[in-house]
Amino acid sequence: MNKYQVVTTISYPKPGANGKTGNWRIFKPILDKQKCVKCLRCWIFCPETAIKRNKDDTIDIDYDYCKGCGICAKECTVKAITMEREGKQQ
């Protein structure tokens, strides 16, 4: 990446520009891969780009950044994602 020399507000792209936002979370989305029908609704609705879409259209949740809004669980038509309180024994 080329960095410009001039001193002004020039910022460069970086995942976690605002830190590991996963630590904002109170409720954590838990995915049941058995139930997932690969509809990708959770992926497209995730406001945080925290749901990773795999080549086979299965998904993984990026807990480093997931803020725990719960939209994925709410919009999942087959209830493959459930929200659990952080720190609860799994």
Partner: protein, 300 residues
């Protein structure tokens, strides 16, 4: 386009400064999937300026020019002119502004850019308030909604931005909502391939601003469309086409749900229900929506 056919490429990076459940980042992801990396954005003061996060980092993987509150469209005119001179004719110029920066303080610059034919896409993500400054009324705030500057509820109806835009007779304008990603994606994609000024407005239900729980962003948008509080349409060369549920409502294939089903879920309208129901205002609000639909039915 089906969700699974949308590109995996992400221009919005995770770990940004948006609130959990933010409709703006949700919309941005889809918009930038449709536009791709060959896009230059200009962003006025709005939540997105915060979402970009703190210097020297940014959560945007496309070039972004932050500009003053009222200046997004004018800045876009400059960018577009420069890119044309540089021979970058295939780069999309996107002005991305909130409803405050569009309906109110940025209206003059927007009207100017539309009138002079700037080849760009202007997207207003409309959360019906000044959310970045902490929930104040805007020209897009609905009647009776609580905001920090309309403590007893707004006493005026929102302005019809779509009417103002259509009075410019630009090649393409549209309304959509974050709850319908296929519709949003298709409209942005279509706009990308049309030359001239394009305007798209996205209803963006804001959990802290509207006072609902952060997992209900999508649901709140869906209900806005199903109750007719928001309309999804596109207007190409002055011809209106309604889309999705809005088309079914327009054609009277389905009844729109009572407005109350949408507003009762939002804390900003809670004073209409307790301590006692304000029948008069509820009736007035329903009538207002009904009148808008009557007007739509007369559109060419």
């Amino acid at each position: 386009m089906a969700i699974k056919d949308m590109p995996t490429e992400e221009c919005m990076l995770p770990g940004n400064a948006s609130c959990p459940g933010c409709p703006a980042t949700m919309a941005l992801r889809i918009v930038l999937k449709a536009l791709g990396k060959n896009t230059v954005m200009t962003v006025p003061a709005c939540c997105t300026a915060v979402i970009e996060s703190l210097y020297p980092n940014t959560s945007f993987d496309v070039p972004v020019m932050n500009i003053a509150f009222e200046a997004a469209a004018a800045g876009a005119s400059g960018i577009e002119a420069a890119l044309r001179q540089l021979g970058q004719k295939d780069t999309t110029v996107l002005a991305w502004a909130g409803d405050g920066g569009t309906y109110d303080i940025g209206l003059q610059a927007l009207s100017g850019a539309l009138e002079r034919g700037t080849n760009f896409i202007y997207i207003c993500y409309n959360n019906q308030i000044y959310s970045n400054t902490g929930i104040q009324r805007s020209g897009a705030t609905p009647y009776a909604a609580w905001t920090t500057t309309t403590v007893g509820g707004k006493t005026e109806f929102r302005k019809e931005m779509g009417d103002i835009i259509r009075a410019h007779h630009i090649p393409y304008s549209a309304q959509t909502c974050i709850s319908y990603p296929e519709d949003l994606y298709a409209k942005v994609k279509k706009a990308k391939d049309i030359h001239g000024p394009k305007y798209i407005e996205i209803l963006a239900p804001c959990p802290p601003g509207w006072r609902f729980s952060m997992d209900k962003t999508v649901e709140m948008g869906r209900l806005a469309v199903e109750t007719g509080a928001w309309t999804m349409y596109e207007c190409e060369n002055d011809i209106m086409t309604f889309n999705g549920k809005s088309k079914l409502i327009l054609d009277k294939k389905i009844e729109k749900k009572p407005l109350e089903e949408w507003i009762k879920l939002q804390g900003r309208f809670s004073h209409l229900f307790k301590p006692k129901r304000d029948e008069e205002k509820l009736k007035l609000m329903q009538q207002h929506i009904d009148q808008i639909w009557e007007r739509y039915r007369k559109c060419p």
